[in-house]
Symmetry: C2
Subunit: 204 residues, 2 copies
Amino acid sequence: MNFSSKLLENAVSEFSRLPGVGQKSALRLVLHLLNQPEQDVTRFSNALIDLKSQIKYCKECHNISDQDQCEICTSLKRDRSLICVVEDTRDVMAIENTDQYGGLYHVLGGLISPMDGVGPSDLSIEALIQRVQKEEVSEIILALSATMEGDTTIFYLYKKIKDLGVKISTIARGIAFGGELEYVDEVTLGRSIVTRIPYERNIA
Amino acid sequence: MNFSSKLLENAVSEFSRLPGVGQKSALRLVLHLLNQPEQDVTRFSNALIDLKSQIKYCKECHNISDQDQCEICTSLKRDRSLICVVEDTRDVMAIENTDQYGGLYHVLGGLISPMDGVGPSDLSIEALIQRVQKEEVSEIILALSATMEGDTTIFYLYKKIKDLGVKISTIARGIAFGGELEYVDEVTLGRSIVTRIPYERNIA
């Protein structure tokens, strides 16, 4: 692109570094910000700088937090014997939004992916094992994506935890609610027959 | 959404104010930035603050510029008798990328749109008329979008300029190169027959 201004080019180049943002979208976003009042742009920039410089990670569950310990880990209402292991904070938010889970979390900070150079030591797996050993945990729920990286991580965690005397479960995989049978892929449909559950549990 | 951190929520809310960015995309972008080194985030923020505080608009053509006059207006290689009127700086960039135009530009800063509360006085129309009156302009090319707002603005500009003794033209509308006839809409196809041009001009 042929920019009429170096400042504009810089801002567009910064925006187009973001995932899923091409140069044209970046230009659109930058021109939008340029049309906003100066205080709005300053507030936008400061929100990012503050986030980066002041953000903390909960020392228990490694979730993003404003304090040393997150609200979930300090809550007295949560079931402390359950730990749900997730990839990142987005998954915590997604599960919290369901209002179906009352235990604690453990945020791995990623999934094992040799292709991307992410090994077990890059994730907070050691901290999870220490939690299982030190705290009174009865069940570890592995709520990871149904991808190759997710399955690899689940298998690794299973091997690490299986002898620690806690129950290990994974979230159910199957046909999504509202999903039409004929459009479901073969693997999902096949597994959903093999891992079928008694009807009474579905209406519980 | 249920944010575990106020700082995170602020940053996401700032990002989701951008056009076409919903809360989920905003969260994805913010978490991406959070994973970058602090200096990258600072550079990102500063690029925006610098842009907003230091950007200038060319006093001739109103295009975005780092100086009081843009590179196109100060260039000795451009044909100063041609002025191409466009909506915003993106259109200048698009036309420059074609390498088919060697004249000057005039950036309106928008299109007349009563629905959005944009009237002629919100655009740099008066400045355009002064340029036509003061400078030796032979032709005004109206290169605006083929939308209702574009056509309204073209009609308004035509009425304002037609008695000033300059040629007024609009860019050609018709079938796009590579476009298959059967998929072209009726209006475009109809107008492209009415405004057909001698074959010799197409191969010139």
